[in-house]
């Protein structure tokens, strides 16, 4: 998995170091501890996962351990629960990323304008992202969604509505998505705001003088500049949310058809003790992530090139 295709940055070599010729090992020495540590802790377990994925191994039945060929993969692909967890992962990731990107874009555009208390509003908007994820999920589950004394139904009651829906059981997936959108919109907003504020001002001024409407300025100047930041936010968001465990674990405990792949793998290995199948599912997740990661690395790499210029 270490070999991931990407565009090679073109302008990446710094000028050769001044005169004093360092021996190669002296240059490499400071790098090695970090590199070796990372290879041992992150790469070797993946190799182990790959090996175990071809084994028959249930820890409750240790005598029956052996080679399984592709059985685990066949099981993973034919197990309806695991298949639905793949679908759930895609639905969850796509909806959270798209909705929070759209909201984040709107908020970033608002915060890019000058108004009283802008810094304070920005601080308020960042707050959801800084609540510890498990804590945030608990607050949504118990304090906001609870059908009897949750804030949402409290507000409905207050406004004089009779309806007191049980949010989590009637719309479990939306409940998880909403809580994650709340946490991730600030992240998208921060990235897009940084993009907006790095936008050169002269073309906009020139366009204004030439009589361009604010929609035209957004469509032809702001948006193209923002595109790479939108991509970056979307891809980083995908990488973090594909792996989401906290919200699913806390809000629905994987029930009501919301179990995503990380939760499913956790359950297969931690509760069902099916080590082989859990590993096969893990390998599939890695394969999927490599797809996303390839695009992500490309985006980061292009921003990286720009910075070097």
């Amino acid at each position: 998995m270490a070999v991931i295709e990407r565009e090679r940055p073109v302008v990446d070599r710094p000028p050769p170091a001044p005169r004093r010729n360092y021996p190669k090992w002296a240059r490499r020495a400071p790098l090695l501890p970090a590199l070796i540590f990372l290879i041992i802790v992150t790469q070797l377990p993946f190799v182990a996962t790959l090996v175990i994925s071809f084994m028959k191994w249930n820890s409750l039945d240790p005598a029956n351990r052996g080679f399984a060929g592709f059985d685990n993969y066949v099981n993973v692909f034919t197990d309806p629960d695991l298949r639905s967890s793949v679908v759930n992962t895609i639905v969850l990731t796509a909806s959270v990323v798209l909705i929070s990107l759209a909201l984040g874009l709107g908020l970033a555009l608002l915060l890019d304008k000058k108004f009283k208390g802008r810094g304070f509003v920005r601080t308020m908007l960042i707050a959801p992202f800084l609540v510890v994820p498990v804590a945030a999920a608990l607050i949504w589950k118990h304090v906001l969604y609870n059908p009897e004394y949750g804030l949402f139904n409290g507000i409905l009651n207050w406004l004089g509505f009779d309806a007191q829906p049980d949010w989590i059981s009637t719309m479990p997936m939306s409940a998880v998505v909403l809580s994650l959108v709340w946490q991730w919109t600030p992240f998208m907003m921060l990235i897009l705001l940084a993009g907006l504020q790095s936008k050169p001002i002269e073309p906009v001024e020139a366009a204004t003088i030439d009589g361009a409407s604010s929609f035209q300025i957004f469509r032809y100047l702001t948006f193209p500049h923002l595109r790479q930041y939108l991509e970056l936010g979307g891809l980083l968001g995908s990488i973090y949310i594909v792996q989401n465990f906290d919200a699913v674990f806390t809000i629905t405990s994987g029930g009501l058809g919301t179990a995503n792949l990380p939760y499913m793998i956790y359950q297969t290995f931690y509760q069902a003790h099916e080590y082989g199948e859990a590993s096969a599912a893990g390998v599939i997740v890695v394969a999927g992530s490599i797809l996303i990661a390839t695009f992500a690395l490309r985006t980061v790499s292009s921003l990286f090139k720009e910075e070097k210029r």
Binding site: A34, V131, E148, Y149, A194, A278, L303
Partner: protein, 271 residues
């Protein structure tokens, strides 16, 4: 339409959304200060008298050990990560090795792999080496989780040290230690602080590894919080107090370093 009016309109809209997004956080704070019976009313009792009972109950129920575990895993891993990442970043920016971009992107690629795929082998290693429910083992894992981010961040900060100054120092006869101490460190210090903050936040928030690898002894604060997942009855003030206490270090760190937050989360791609 009057442009002045529009301008105010945008501000009002921004304030509106700011308040909407902040409302759950504000409500969490307020509920944590209510008594259990006031916390569980419908409609909500906003003006109920304030009390610290929720916090007292949270701390009486054995909250200190998990908090201390979280602090030692987060601070310990942050220190180790910095010790590994700063020399590595040096070898990727100031005195770069050959093919340094490839190395840099290798670091990043490890961050894109889902941790859940490595969960089982890591669990087995912990089991066979007797390191289950051991906070040192978790600390090491958090190091590997944060090392790529730290290397990327530190590299982008060290790359800001102007080459001319380094050359001038070398011409003036400054040795490696002097150069690092007097030239590089002052410029890199804010970057080191930002990197430390990001690593701290990520370790502090982590749940999956902690949940699988720790138990009664080494359980961290997020693991402690999962005890509330299936709670029923009168516990809202307590759960809010717990959420506030556990989130407080991150809220403080995050607000203190708002600008560095974006840079860290985008792995240094956004300045």
């Amino acid at each position: 339409m009057n442009p002045q009016w529009i301008k105010h309109g945008w501000g009002v809209l921004a304030w509106f959304f700011g308040l909407v997004f902040f409302a759950p956080v504000a409500w969490m704070f307020l509920t944590s200060l209510h008594s259990e019976s006031d916390a569980a009313t419908n409609p909500p009792s906003i003006a109920a008298p304030l009390t610290l009972d929720g916090y007292a109950e949270f701390f009486d129920a054995g909250a200190w050990p998990p908090l201390i575990n979280s602090f030692s895993a987060s601070i310990g891993s942050t220190i180790i990560v910095l010790l590994l990442a700063i020399p590595a970043a040096y070898a990727l920016s100031i005195k770069p090795v050959e093919k340094w971009t490839d190395v840099l992107f290798f670091f990043l690629s490890t961050k894109m792999m889902p941790v859940v795929a490595a969960l089982l082998p890591i669990y087995l290693i912990a089991q066979f080496s007797g390191m289950l429910d051991n906070i040192s083992f978790l600390t090491l894992l958090y190091c590997s989780m944060n090392l790529p981010i730290a290397v990327w961040l530190m590299r982008s900060f060290l790359a800001e040290v102007p080459k001319e100054i380094l050359e001038a120092a070398s011409i003036d006869g400054a040795g490696l230690v002097t150069t690092l101490r007097r030239v590089v460190a002052p410029i890199a210090m804010p970057g080191i602080a930002a990197t430390a903050l990001i690593c701290f936040i990520f370790s502090w928030n982590e749940l999956l590894f902690a949940r699988v690898l720790t138990g009664v002894v080494a359980g961290t604060a997020p693991v402690y919080l999962t005890g509330f997942v299936t709670s029923q009855g009168l516990f809202l003030a307590k759960v809010c107090a717990a959420a506030v206490v556990v989130s407080l270090p991150v809220l403080i760190a995050g607000f203190a370093a708002q600008d560095k937050l974006v840079q860290g989360l985008s792995l240094g791609a956004v300045k």
